[in-house]
Amino acid sequence: MRMKLVGVGGATAMAALRVATGAGNWFSALALGVTLLKCLLIPTYHSTDFEVHRNWLAITHSLPISQWYYEATSEWTLDYPPFFAWFEYALSHVAKYFDQEMLNVHNLNYSSSRTLLFQRFSVIFTDALFVYAVYECCKCIEGKKAGKELTEKPKFILSALLLWNFGLLIVDHIHFQYNGFLSGLMLLSIARLFQKRHMEGAFLFAVLLHFKHIYLYVAPAYGIYLLRSYCFTANKPDGSIRWNSFSFVRLISLGLIVFLVSALSLGPFLALNQLPQVFSRLFPFKRGLCHAYWAPNFWALYSALDKVLSVIGLELKLLDPNKVPKASMTSGLVQQFQHTVLPSVTPLATLICTLIAILPSIFCLWFKPQGPRGFLRCLILCALSSFMFGWHVHEKAILLAVLPMSLLSVGKAGDASIFLILTTTGHYSLFPLLFTAPELPIKILLMLLFTIYSISSLKTLFRKEKPLFNWMETFYLLGLGPLEVFCEFVFPFTSWKLKYPFIPLLLTSVYCAVGITYAWFKLYVSALSDPPVGKTKKQ
């Protein structure tokens, strides 16, 4: 273990020396700084996702491909697309030098210090892709022109916001997941679209889809944007579509890329005649509407309303107490759940709601193309809408919207204000992920660090424009403080703790749901009311 540690240390030391010699290189300093912080987070608590990924390492390493999606010794079966399985397969070939035992499928809940070190370092190392993607994004995002001071440059602010993102830090490096390099892939593909390297962007996104299928949510934005702004090579002077400029070659080459990537990923399983099994693993509709802890979305509000109505109904004797199901939604395992007063929600209903929520942004992208920025806005709207209305949404999925939104935030004051509301509430809603006492100071300190920095730096950037928040928004954001104090410091000492253990979670998700809904709504309004790009240029 020590040998490996030293090896890792040596690599970082080389990088550190390079920074030192090229003094003043702030980007590497930011990136290295956060990498070192990640290394310090290694001994922190990790969730069951740690075991999930260990199990996947074992499955891919010790079993033939034909078994990957059938293996079910552990309850944490492989439910990511094939590329991710191959990724685990590749990792497992490094893992065997750390500890052979972690690659045994039957070693459930196996954890040794070497396993821990390997898994943590695998996240830290793959984050290199994220760092590179942020670097590329900073090159192509032109933010607001601001002062000469380094700390007031949009590029500096943007890279700090992305590299030191609170959500990524705690979800990846404490809770344990591989969102860093996946987000890196997405940011990189966005950057490629900004750089007009459409084919590359499409390729990267197709690869990303086969790493983690949650990105399907933003696929409409990609599809429509590439079709509208890449396959159609010209617009009419008023910005509307010129049908005869359609380029079949471009469409076919795009299709070919997507097809080839999919073939590479799903082909082997098609050959084994296992596609239905793979898909049943990828889309488990048997899970409940909400995750064990409600993600702060529309359904959280809906369920909370239902709960309130049922309590009122019981008080007023309008409901029959025997018919009210006893299981409370936030306590216990993922399960099917019946609403008491309001109609219960089916997967199909959420799918329809999601589609309806996404549609306006898609129309907007088609009829009012605003170049890459418009695409980015549409992508965020897709991500947010599906977060708002999706089936069994995890609270972590908010990162899907938060990260791309950072790119927008340094451009316009309006976007910055939406970004700040979205990020602050979204990040706060991640708090219940870390519930152990030693991690409490870490999450509070990091959250304060990120929030104070993001708010103040964006305020400094847009100091000449109108204030970023109105009084209502300020009040709402400040309310998160007392909420945290109540949930973590007051509530555990009250007598309600045993009777209503779910209250902190309920309060957190409902309070955050309000903020995220508000941000979603505001972003939609700004997207629909913005003039098309042609007109803004003239101004």
Partner: protein, 509 residues
């Protein structure tokens, strides 16, 4: 201040790093029968809470002084008592007399770590922030960078939050820093009061006492001993006496009490050095076993003479020409002299040198960074024993990156920026070709860094030969000691050649 948010961010980063380091193991975790410094701290809480104040420093059936007896001044004991009250409120088992020996649990660790963080947050961090905010000669950005670097100094973090020093360094160093702050900005009484608290918290702060004494005395002389200076002197004496009286009040009731406390504080009957420490006596005992050759009292006399002679020039200089800048440098050189030559030095005492070096970080960024890295490295054997390799490596790199980017240290290696201009000029009067000093220093730096990295790698990966089980830790001490000797010479040169700068500062700028 317009950049307050960056300052907040920097402090938050410092706090986060501190807390993440504290998640690691501590000294003596799960190692009965003696455990380690962590247990010592807990034991003091137990003693101070359960025994009357008169028995704290005495051996008795309830207070076995062989088992981590209290050997720090009264303020430490009071602090332990305060923590004990909180502990009693949370879980009385933690400090139950006798039965709580070697108590370890996750919750208790959390509690102990929190006490460190709170002490740090109340005393050390505000002092650092205030000190840097008061610096008028550097830009706001540099001030923030300096706070970052000081707060990221790995030595202090690792000892306080990793190893769990048997006395909260951040408190004693924090008080000392408040003292420096006060004395430098002419709040002399407050400064001396804070420094008295520091001494009464940890007797090792005596390393810093001579520069304080000389600087204040020099100030009095400057104002004229017959007029204002005399008034100031009287006021200072009163403050110091009052502060000491207040701290020692319960122990002044009987003569025996006072003497016993003093005996506990200065255990002269212990050896010249303990364990492996990077000072002169330990490092050169490789060649000459002074500890065994000379009788005990001669060892004391020799170490006293060496210490006294080594710090004399700097102190005289400071008394004659008191200036805040000279004061800070003299703090460094005096503490270093004590560390290198005095009797019964611990490896952790290097922190007392590091604190003043942190203060001159913006004046001589290159040398200070180098020194601070070496000082952390010198504690490597200790840190390895506590399984703190990972946090040590990471925090050292973080510190290095922070210093390198915020002060661009490698561009600041000219004679002027090393503050060696006047020295070189005077040497050049005799040797006109003496222009290679900065280059030599740069090469020495590279050499020193490479040896440190190699030694770390060797210690971690190789098993020492059976005949020499301590080979690597002795090597670490020896290398660090050579570095420290070099720094001692360097700092003394700066101090002695400083007067020319002082007289016409504009010329230098």
């Amino acid at each position: 201040m317009e950049k307050w948010y960056l300052m907040t961010a920097v402090v938050l980063i410092g706090l986060t790093v501190r807390w993440t380091v504290s998640l690691n193991s501590y000294s003596g975790a799960g190692k009965p029968p003696m455990f380690g410094d962590y247990e010592a701290q807990r034991h003091w809480q137990e003693i101070t809470f359960n025994l009357p104040i008169k028995q704290w420093y005495f051996n008795s059936s309830d207070n076995n002084l062989q088992y981590w007896g209290l050997d720090y001044p009264p303020l430490t004991a009071y602090h332990s008592l305060l923590c004990a009250y909180v502990a009693e409120f949370i879980n009385p088992d933690w400090i139950a007399l006798h039965t709580s020996r070697g108590y370890e649990s996750q919750a208790h660790k959390l509690f102990m770590r929190t006490t460190v963080l709170i002490a740090d947050l109340l005393i050390y961090i505000p002092a650092v922030v205030l000190y840097c905010c008061c610096l008028k000669e550097i830009s706001i950005k540099k001030r923030i960078a300096k706070v970052l670097c000081i707060l990221l100094y790995p030595g202090l973090i690792l000892i306080d939050y990793g190893h769990f020093q048997n006395i909260y360094n951040s408190v004693s160093l924090g008080f000392a820093l408040w003292g420096v702050l006060g004395v430098c900005y002419d709040w002399d009484l407050l400064g001396s009061l804070a420094f008295c608290l520091a001494i009464n918290y940890k007797q090792m702060e005596l390393y810093h006492s001579l520069p304080f004494f000389c600087f204040l005395l020099g100030k009095c002389f400057k104002k004229g001993l017959k007029g204002k200076g005399f008034v100031l002197l009287i006021k200072l004496v009163c403050t110091v006496v009052a502060a000491f009286l207040l701290c020692w009040l319960p122990f002044f009731t009987e003569r025996e009490q006072t003497l016993q406390v003093l005996r506990r504080l200065f255990p002269v009957d212990r050896g010249l050095f303990e364990d492996k420490v990077a000072n002169v006596w330990c490092s050169f005992s490789v060649f000459l076993k002074i500890k065994d050759i000379l009788p005990h009292h001669i060892q004391i006399i020799i170490s006293f003479c060496f210490t006294f002679l080594s710090l004399l020039p700097a102190c005289i200089k400071l008394t004659l020409h008191p200036s805040p800048k000279g004061f800070k440098f003299t703090l460094v050189s005096c503490a270093l002299s004590f560390f290198l030559f005095s009797f019964q030095v611990h490896e952790k005492s290097i922190l007392l040198v590091s604190l003043p070096v942190c203060l001159v970080l913006s004046e001589i960024p290159f040398m200070s960074t180098w020194f601070l890295l070496v000082s952390t490295f010198s504690m490597l054997p200790l840190l390895l024993k506590d399984e703190l390799l990972m946090p040590s490596v990471v925090t050292m790199m973080a510190f290095f990156i922070a210093c390198a980017t915020s002060f661009s240290i490698f561009e600041k290696t000219s004679e002027e920026e090393l503050q060696l201009k006047s020295f070189s000029i005077s040497v050049r009067k005799y040797f006109p070709c003496f222009t290679f000093l900065p280059r030599i220093i740069l090469h020495l730096f590279l050499f020193s860094v490479i040896t440190m990295v190699l030694l770390t790698l060797m210690t971690v990966t190789l098993d020492p030969p059976q005949r020499l089980p301590d080979l690597f830790s002795v090597l670490v001490c020896f290398v660090s000691c050579l570095n420290f000797l070099f720094f001692w010479v360097y700092f003394n040169i700066i101090i002695m050649w400083d007067s020319k700068n002082g007289r016409n500062p504009k010329k230098i700028n």
